[in-house]
Symmetry: C2
Subunit: 439 residues, 2 copies
């Protein structure tokens, strides 16, 4: 068996900054052939609807079907899956859904308004989207936890109808995924995937209803299709490989830290696990733990490759340097395995989710702590947020001017409109000025 | 002079639904040549930085410069512009900025957390983005009000540094735009535009700092460049043509309604103005007003073309039908020129901004009422919101498990992780289970 390989860096090295930049570099491959193929699939679904979906499902997923009706999983089938899975799995899914729901209920926004002295009312009204599409990958990376994390916030937000799509290559349907859909309140499920599923949700077909927003992860075809329908339909972010930055003061059991790093690395070969510590002996201890624990993993090969290519154990000068590195990296997952994590918090500007203390491994957040596991990757925490209720609601601005309020505002608007040479704007405002004896 | 042309529709017509669909249809032209050219410009700016910016500014904007230093407007120049513009314009800009700031301060989000019975803490921390880029179109469509509407919310959100870019074809600089930038708190201004400006902001050059998010409207090159850098940097929406839906019970002065419709139509030829009323005589009166008032507008030709191509006067059965049409259209601007606009509000699901009552024309909201004038267009109010403080802040999830809390959560996580065949996740969680005597 191949040995464990993981690079060790030291912030005191002259070329540390260059090495870190190389380590963090990630750019998704933009393939012209994929873009062309996706563009053709989208055009076909837009023009031929269900007929195109049936053809692609026969071609790509090997489904032996001849009508679009066969592409919908009857609602009853979800309940059956819930009955069929082992009791401990059902209970775990229900417990996780309950905690995710509780956390996200704290995100529900309220409409508000305020009245000014002259009677003018300003505010904003919060409403939910009507219909949302949830893409769930098929095959090897089918995660029931992702169904919960995407569907529960949508339902908490008040979305009327949640349409799930998931390819079923060879007709294989994952019962735990269907059970999670039942628990999360998914309304309809179609066994379609790839760019054709994105197109069907974005534009609608005879069978698949058009949605307002599409969420959920997918492969390069799905990501490319999302990019191409951008603007016609709402989208969540396009996720890169998953990553974790663990910070440890050297006082946590090194086996724990090793396994926390593994739990990220096992996602896929491109995943990234980085450990920062001011304690060189501790970094050695973690490396020793890793070498010992690696063979016990079911996905040891993926972990080995991920750590060799994108992992790092980094010796830092002190905990102050740590904060600067955190903000530079803007990690998707940040684990603060230190004595007083709350002391670091006020200085942390960029991170998707922050796991605080020795007893808060990322794995708890991935499944059931409550916050969402759909998080900004590849440094995009600088400008993006975890998926949440906010992503399924929207705001409408409210403006109701009193007669005197309008009159005052109109004077300002008139000057600015004329400064922009927009005469109709100016006159429309001026009609509401009172002193001239209007109405 | 050409006569006023505007289509009249009646919801009772058999083909009304088809006519409405045609009227609302809008798809931005996706031009392969533009995409190719933008892609080359972005690659050049990424690889050659300032040198490429200087070349493009010479080529596209006719600037006689030979170094990138000449592309930055000294900060002092903004203050000079503020002194130089007419006093009434300065006062109007300051009054508008003050009201926009006051409204947006209501949007500031607070971090929160809650502690569960076992001591586990869950929450979310709100932080501002560090650096934001603001694109301001040059030439004919240079709007100081847009500078305020984009810059003020960013500053209210707590953004550290606001970088404005705006092309200055032939070296022409609009003093009112610079004055608005000074009032709004813009930190640096570069005279660059087009795809090269978007690339510079997204990736940084020697002179132009890389930003976390780019906001602000632009032409097809700017929109295409934004689409191409999607993922590397945060973006606001890509706006379509502006539109208004006016609802009137027939009791507002028809001149007012005519001018409110004009104020939208004068933006550009693709802008859309639609009036709904249950009163056929009132629709006629508005049309008469329009014909009389049109010649007095400075942009009469644009208004005439916009109304002929995309405008409509629609006779509806009753006010109940109106609500269904509003939600179907999901207008950017909705003006409820009726006696009791608040009665309609609870049933309005999709609209960017709602202008309530006869004394609240859109023009007041465009400049100075307080809410943002950057709004979702072309029906995207189904899934998007007005620009706001939210667009310049982000959330980090907080999870701090107590020892006993972690132990309970770990049992659930373990079952789910093993159900997903993610062993490292499972073991990482199981290490935190107490009953086995771990630490």
């Amino acid at each position: 068996m191949a040995e464990l390989q993981i690079r060790t860096l030291d912030t005191r090295d002259n070329d540390f900054d260059i090495q870190l930049t190389k380590l963090l570099a990630w750019e998704s491959v933009s393939d012209q052939a994929v873009a062309q193929s996706v563009s053709e699939i989208i055009a076909a679904v837009r023009s031929r609807g269900d007929a195109a979906l049936v053809e692609y499902s026969r071609q790509f997923d090997g489904l032996d079907i001849d009508s679009a009706a066969a592409l919908e999983i009857p609602f009853q089938r979800l309940q059956e899956a819930l009955q069929r899975i082992p009791t401990d799995q059902r209970q775990a899914l229900e417990a996780a859904a309950k905690r995710v729901r509780q956390y996200h209920e704290h995100q529900n926004q309220q409409s508000w308004s305020y009245t000014e002295a002259d009677g003018t009312v300003l505010g904003q009204q919060i409403t939910a989207m009507e219909r949302v599409g949830l893409y769930v990958p098929g095959g090897k990376a089918t995660y029931p936890s992702s169904v919960l994390m995407n569907a529960v916030p949508a339902k908490v937000a008040g979305v009327d109808e949640l349409i799930m799509v998931s390819p079923t290559p060879g007709g294989f349907v994952n019962d735990m995924v269907l059970a999670a859909a039942a628990i999360a309140g998914v309304d309809r499920v179609f066994t379609i995937g790839g760019a054709q599923a994105v197109a069907a949700l974005a534009f609608g077909t005879e069978s698949v209803p058009k949605v307002d927003k599409i969420v959920g992860p997918g492969n390069i075809y799905v990501a490319t299709a999302k990019r191409q329908v951008f603007g016609s339909v709402g989208l969540d972010m396009i996720a890169g490989p998953s990553e974790i930055l663990v910070v440890c003061d050297g006082q946590t059991n090194p086996d724990w830290i090793a396994m926390d790093l593994f739990s990220q690395a096992e996602h896929d070969e491109d995943a990234q696990s980085i450990l920062l510590s001011p304690d060189a002996a501790f970094l050695d201890a973690v490396k020793t733990s890793m070498a010992r624990l690696l063979p016990g993993l079911s996905r040891a090969d993926i972990v080995r490759q991920s750590l060799a290519e994108r992992g790092a154990l980094v010796l830092v000068k002190d905990m102050e340097e740590v904060v600067a590195l955190i903000n530079r990296i803007a990690p998707e997952h940040l684990e603060l395995s230190v004595e007083e994590p709350e002391a670091l918090l006020p200085n942390i500007r960029h991170a998707g989710a922050i796991f605080m203390g020795r007893h808060t491994p990322e794995a708890l957040g991935d499944y059931c702590a409550g916050p969402n596991h759909v998080l900004p990757t590849s440094g995009t925490a600088r400008f993006s947020s975890p998926l949440g209720v906010y992503d399924f609601q929207k705001r409408s601005s409210l403006i109701q001017c009193s007669v005197s309020g309008a009159s005052e505002l109109a004077k300002t608007a008139s000057v600015l409109a004329r400064g922009e040479s927009l005469t109709a704007h100016a006159i429309s405002a001026e009609y509401r000025i009172q002193e001239e004896g209007n109405e």
